[in-house]
């Protein structure tokens, strides 16, 4: 087996050195009747070539986002990732290193985490960001528990524009942690009255902007209403590129900001791995979940970085920790940091403008179609439309013709009367031809 360096001779010599005559003597603590006496009924070892054949065949049964016009979003977005990113994250020293518990030989990881935290704090307009969460949805669940710790209250209010899967993650975690969740109805037009739901038992309000339908929300009045009642505003985003063009949640008064960072540096990957962004105000840092990297000096006074404030964490505090999180999204944070360093402010703004322009152009074209209503008045790169007919059926039909039209709202909100709503994302990868193909196909399908 190509991954195992020991030879048969090595094994017998080493067994002799250990002082046993058979490998199973080293497994003697396993109850004798539980020790497997034959190989399990699974295929035997294979060459690299054979493995490639098997997996390539599976991969070929999937339709990739690059194989035709592609408008699927709703929480994960197809963007172009520069070749530099994927090369760098595959460097052995990044790929095969561990959590930087020995900082003297992990400054590479620690420095990029420090850069990542600084970038995320700047983007979100917050004081401090952690070294990442698993993804935006699990980060949102943790943010709600964090708000409960800070306010010593127990009730979260979720906007109807929050991605319903994020809502499900929050509800699952809250239910299990004996916390209360109030979820507003799907909010197609950003018309919900969140403020009415805030009273002095509410710990936090969770608002997504742009929301799952693509609409931008005014966070400021919600933040003010929260603060008047002693509650916190948790602002969520699933499209981080929007922050290049849209006012940051921090500027609008958010207390905790959580987002999905996949769009920068990371592939679609059928849903994971992604990278959760998590930022807050300085006064809440000791209630924050997840790893934090901080600056310090070494014995010679040279600047260096270490994991810090770990007295919040499970390996020190055990059952008193702020979270059980251990692993973060290491390599995905690196991909984010490198891509963001390539873009810089200038590139991010340009990228965001192209995304927005493409979405505006598509919205204009769609608005001209009979039987189509563009729902959003203000949006970034994603819009929702009402069609004539069942959006799921139309999406399936278009997929058959090589066009990925978007996400039917009913897939995310089953049985909520949204069968005719389609969520359409538009990024820099979409061309005029893509948009024309989509518009023509939708016209024909209705």
């Amino acid at each position: 087996m190509r991954y195992l360096p020991l030879s048969a001779d090595d094994r017998s010599d080493m067994l002799a050195r250990v002082g046993v005559d058979h490998i199973d003597k080293l497994f003697a603590d396993i109850p004798h009747d539980k020790l497997l006496d034959k190989v399990l009924p699974l295929p035997l070892s294979k060459s690299e070539l054979e493995v490639e054949r098997i997996l390539s065949k599976m991969a070929a049964r999937n339709k990739s986002a690059s194989s035709g016009p592609f408008f699927v979003g709703a929480g994960a977005y197809k963007h172009h990732v520069p070749a530099t990113v994927d090369h760098l994250i595959q460097r052995s020293e990044f790929l095969t290193s561990y959590t930087p518990y020995q900082p003297e030989i992990a400054q590479g990881t620690l420095q990029y985490l420090f850069e990542f935290q600084t970038q995320v704090a700047a983007l979100t307009g917050m004081d401090v960001a952690n070294a990442s969460m698993y993804d935006g949805s699990t980060g949102t669940g943790e943010a709600v528990l964090m708000a409960h710790r800070i306010t010593k209250r127990n009730k979260a209010v979720l906007s109807g524009g929050l991605h319903p899967h994020y809502g499900d993650v929050v509800r699952t975690l809250s239910e299990m942690a004996n916390a209360e969740v109030v979820t507003l109805k799907p909010d197609l037009r950003a018309k919900e009255d969140l403020i009415a739901a805030i009273d002095d038992t509410v710990s936090c309000v969770v608002v997504q902007s742009p929301d799952v339908f693509g609409t931008l929300h005014d966070l400021k009045p919600i933040a003010d209403a929260c603060h008047a009642k002693g509650a916190l505003l948790i602002a969520v985003f699933t499209e981080v590129v929007s922050l290049g063009l849209v006012a940051s949640p921090g500027e609008q008064g958010a207390d905790i900001v959580v987002g999905e960072g996949q769009s920068i540096g990371n592939a679609l990957n059928f849903g994971g791995p992604y990278v959760g962004l998590f930022a807050t105000k300085t006064q809440y840092v000791r209630n924050m979940p997840g790893r934090l990297c901080g600056e310090t000096v070494d014995a010679e006074g040279k600047r260096g970085f270490v994991l810090t404030l770990s007295t919040r964490e499970q390996h020190i505090r055990r059952e008193k920790a702020t979270s059980n999180i251990c692993t973060n999204s290491g390599l995905c944070t690196l991909a984010f940091t490198i891509h963001m360093s390539l873009l810089g402010e200038k590139g991010l703004r340009a990228l965001a403008e192209v995304n927005h322009a493409n979405a505006v152009m598509l919205a204009d074209k769609l608005a001209k179609l009979p039987h189509v209503e563009v729902i959003n008045e203000q949006f970034f790169n994603e819009i929702s439309i009402r069609l004539k007919g069942d959006a799921t059926k139309i999406v399936d039909r278009l997929a058959h013709h090589g066009i990925m039209a978007g996400v039917p709202a009913a897939r995310l909100f089953p049985d909520q009367g949204l069968d005719d709503v389609l969520i359409i994302a538009n990024t820099e990868v979409n061309t005029d031809e893509d948009r024309d193909a989509l518009v023509a196909a939708l016209k024909e399908a209705m």
Binding site: Y3, F70, T99, E300, R318, C326, G344, V395
Partner: protein, 525 residues
């Protein structure tokens, strides 16, 4: 000596003198500033064409303030991150004996496979008819996991080991709720030797943690479990092989004791890599166990993630698995994403762990590893991992102290610091001296049940020659420590890119992001 072009070919003078360099660099060890110190907000390494004219639809939400993100050109970016990478130690650099973390070889075939566009460039919400291969991959991996563990079902979506623990305990809580016993069954038993994530996970969803003391031989006593378990007990969380590197020899009796009390047996699968193909958790009475694909099945640790932590479940817990899950239908594989729909198929999901379907990129890598090894190769890998650890034990037992006696261990060997008593050298010092010798240190001060723990896991990826050199190095260090050569330890590392770092300072006044340097004020008039 000069060659014919007049070029010196031998060192011309004494090479023992070390000169300070102008740059502060030491050849390949380069000092690298932060991007914020070398980039600029006007610079970018990405060419993006200006968009066609359009009317913005941002309402009043257009950003007016600067962000403060510097950019770098492509060559600058490349150099910056390559230089950073050179300050890191990885598995490919050298032996990485970090106990409990399983730093085994990460095959690059896995990376190549994960990047096939059919896996990497697929959206989680595409029509399911267009992702049948991705679902097939998940289903195939699930079959391998269930077969290797002898369990009934697997919840694939947890994003890492601790997330898997959470998923497993949520399934247990859901089962207890279904039994109508949530008001009484609130206690989770956790041995003192457990990973910190175990008690943290239990506490996160409001279980009470009750500690189980570890007996003198480093394992858990089933009689103690029986005496601590009762009608208030929800579960036990037991790592097996445990963090002392020992197989819990009374695991079957422990399972019986917990089941008899009406509780569930959660196994922390962090150390499953020792017994793949040798024993199946399902045969030992386990009800739920997470599997760290990034440990046992070689997906890269990536400097701390991304991980992946599928949870295998017993028949009793399988109905409570979260959405989404895969169902076989006449038209192909179906991903059941909605809880109401899941109920129609006879399931009682406790909820959802994450927005989408879990860590697909890690599934591909893990399956690539499994297919490569096969059932036979994985059994061999477990045996080699255990043999390597025991070889290290046998070769160091005369110099270093084994808290539970010199007897066979599993895939990792645990030493304590008794042997360092009165040397003036601590476990930490010893670890830092290993850095100077070119090794990543072992896990230190964990598990907490022994003093000054040193937990060494060589993995199956090390050749005998590599182990022999490692052993010789540790022997040399151990002899030096006992001889009183303390400076070699207390000041170490001397040769790493940085010397020992001040962690107290970092925690006392946290600096968690870069801020622009303040202009230096003129001296007061």
């Amino acid at each position: 000596m000069l060659n014919r072009q007049g070029r010196p070919t031998t060192p011309s003078h004494d090479t023992t003198v070390v000169h300070k360099t102008f740059t502060g660099n030491k050849a390949l060890q380069q000092i690298e500033p932060l991007i914020f110190e070398i980039g600029s907000t006007d610079q970018t390494g990405v060419d993006i064409d200006a968009p066609a004219p359009h009317h913005k639809k941002l309402g009043k939400f257009e950003r007016k303030s600067p962000i403060g993100l510097p950019g770098l050109s492509e060559p600058e970016t490349m150099r910056h991150y390559v230089r950073l990478s050179q300050k890191n130690y990885g598995i490919d650099t050298g032996l990485f004996p970090l106990g409990s973390c399983t730093m085994k070889h990460n095959p690059r075939l896995n990376e190549k496979m994960a990047r096939l566009p059919g896996f990497s460039d697929v959206h989680p919400l595409q029509p399911q008819a267009t992702v049948q291969g991705a679902l097939e991959l998940m289903d195939t991996l699930a079959h391998w996991l269930v077969t290797l563990t002898g369990m009934d079902a697997v919840a694939m979506s947890p994003k890492a080991g601790a997330h898997g623990e959470l998923c497993g305990l949520m399934a247990i809580k859901a089962a207890i709720i279904a039994r109508g016993e949530e008001a009484t069954r609130k206690v989770v038993l956790v041995p003192d030797s457990a990973h910190g994530t175990n008690p943290a996970t239990a506490a996160l969803i409001h279980f009470e943690v009750r500690s189980v003391p570890v007996r003198e031989d480093g394992t858990v006593d089933p009689h103690v479990v029986a005496s601590l378990a009762g009608p208030d007990t929800a579960a036990i969380m037991l790592t097996n092989p445990n963090t002392c590197g020992l197989f819990e020899k009374d695991v079957v009796a422990i399972a019986e004791a917990i089941h008899k009390a009406g509780g569930y047996f959660y196994a922390d699968g962090a150390n499953f890599n020792a017994i793949v193909g040798k024993a199946r958790p399902g045969d030992l009475g386990v009800d739920a166990m997470h599997i760290n694909l990034h440990k046992t099945f070689s997906t890269p640790h990536g400097g701390g993630g991304p991980g992946s932590g599928p949870v295998v479940l017993s028949e009793r817990l399988a109905p409570f698995a979260p959405v989404p899950f895969i169902r076989k239908t006449d038209e192909g594989l179906q991903l059941v994403e909605d809880e109401a729909e899941a109920t129609n198929h006879g399931a009682h999901p406790f909820g959802r762990m994450t927005a989408f379907h879990g860590q697909m990129g890690m599934y591909v890598r893990a399956l690539s590893y499994m297919l490569s090894h096969g059932a036979d190769g994985m059994k061999q890998a477990s045996e080699d991992a255990v043999l390597n650890a025991n070889y290290v034990r046998a070769c160091l037992a005369d110099l270093m102290s084994l808290p539970f006696g010199n007897k066979p261990c599993m895939h990792e060997v645990l030493f304590d610091d008794t042997w360092l008593k009165d040397t003036g050298v601590s476990t930490l010092d010893f670890a830092k001296a290993m850095i100077d010798e070119g090794y990543h240190p072992m896990t230190m001060y964990f598990p907490l049940v022994v003093h000054g723990a040193m937990l060494i896991e060589p993995t199956e990826s090390e050749s005998r020659a590599s182990l022999d050199l490692f052993i010789a190095t540790l022997r040399d260090l151990a002899i030096a420590a006992k001889r009183g050569d303390t400076e070699r330890f207390t000041g170490a590392p001397y040769h790493a890119p940085l010397r020992r770092l001040d962690e107290t300072r970092a925690a006392r006044s946290p600096v968690l992001k870069w801020t622009p340097p303040q202009p230096i004020l003129e001296a007061a008039e």
